[in-house]
Amino acid sequence: MVKKTLLILCLGLMLSSCFAVHPELQSAKSEDKGAHGYSIGVYGGANVLVETYGVAGVYNYGLTDKVNWSTDFSFSVQVSSLKRVFQGFGVNQYNLSSGPKLSVLNNRFALRLPATVTYSTEEFYLSTSPTLLLDVIDEKATLFLRYNRLYERNAIEGYSGDVVFGFNYFLPLKSDQILLSIQSNGVGLYGGIGVTL
């Protein structure tokens, strides 16, 4: 039984390389109480196996000046090339995360604790995605680290999930509303562009 679990774990880690690699389209700063904030963006990238293209968005609502309810979604396609996306090929993946976001240290550091549901190839995956956000360079950029941990309903005990780390840079255009994002899960590199509304 232990050998079998180790084999599943080993093979699973080698294969699960494109799970929830969407960008964080936000900074550490929380919206003021009662305020709304939106961002949308597109992203793409590749690992050694496959390319990924997607759209993503995030919505924040200010519960207090320091605590937001933060919800993000993404839709992505794993495919061999962008051309194949438009021909209807590829494996689709949908992610929806929602949960509180707490901002501290003068809004320069934030912790998100969302629950995440992912749908892909006729199967749902439940996970939690604690995320750290740190604003740097006079709030012109944000570093983020997201740990996507599958819940225990997953048959494989001990699987610790995927880590995604990245960097947002808010371009000095349109009141800093346009951001560039680069992120990686260690086996692939992904980038995107977004706009905050």
Partner: protein, 156 residues
């Protein structure tokens, strides 16, 4: 060929001829893990479908690399009897780690046997064949079920 009237054609009529490879994707999934898609280009392949002798001959750069027989079960299902060579062009093992060798060993048996494909798309210019199956992978006396979703995309 472009003047052929195809209103009364059936699957066997559309299948007949030489198909140019476009892409093959293999999606591998282990139990509750998100799977991995491994697409590879097959634009160097030609597939000569002989509907009289019911053979499929795979040609790569002028060299015949595989030949199998097929049975058209109905208008949407095709059964192909593969050979030991089939996995070499139907599955790209290069980008995957050596640790997956137990999967490949099991896949080799699968591809060299009889496999029923769904004909997902078949017309005068395009053909998409698909099958999915659970592959038991044997390792250290244990069995792990690996799901394989295999898609072949051909064009004329």
């Amino acid at each position: 060929m472009s003047c052929d009237r195809t209103e009364n054609w059936t699957a066997i009529d559309f299948l007949s001829g030489t198909w140019e490879g476009q892409e093959i994707t293999n999606y591998i999934k282990i139990q509750s893990y998100p799977g991995a898609l491994t697409p590879h280009s097959t634009d160097h392949l030609l597939n000569q479908i002989d509907t009289v002798n019911r053979t499929s001959t795979i040609d790569s750069a002028g060299v015949v690399i595989d030949k199998s027989v097929f049975v058209l079960l109905d208008e949407t299902h095709l059964s192909l009897s593969g050979t030991d060579q089939t996995i070499n062009w139907a599955f790209d093992t290069d980008p995957l780690p050596a640790g997956l060798e137990p999967i490949f060993d099991s896949l080799r048996v699968l591809f060299s046997g009889e496999q029923t494909f769904d004909i997902q798309l078949l017309n005068k210019k395009e053909c998409i064949l698909y099958f999915d199956t659970i592959v038991p992978v044997y390792y250290a006396g244990n069995v792990v079920n690996v799901e394989l979703r295999h898609t072949q995309y051909w064009q004329k």
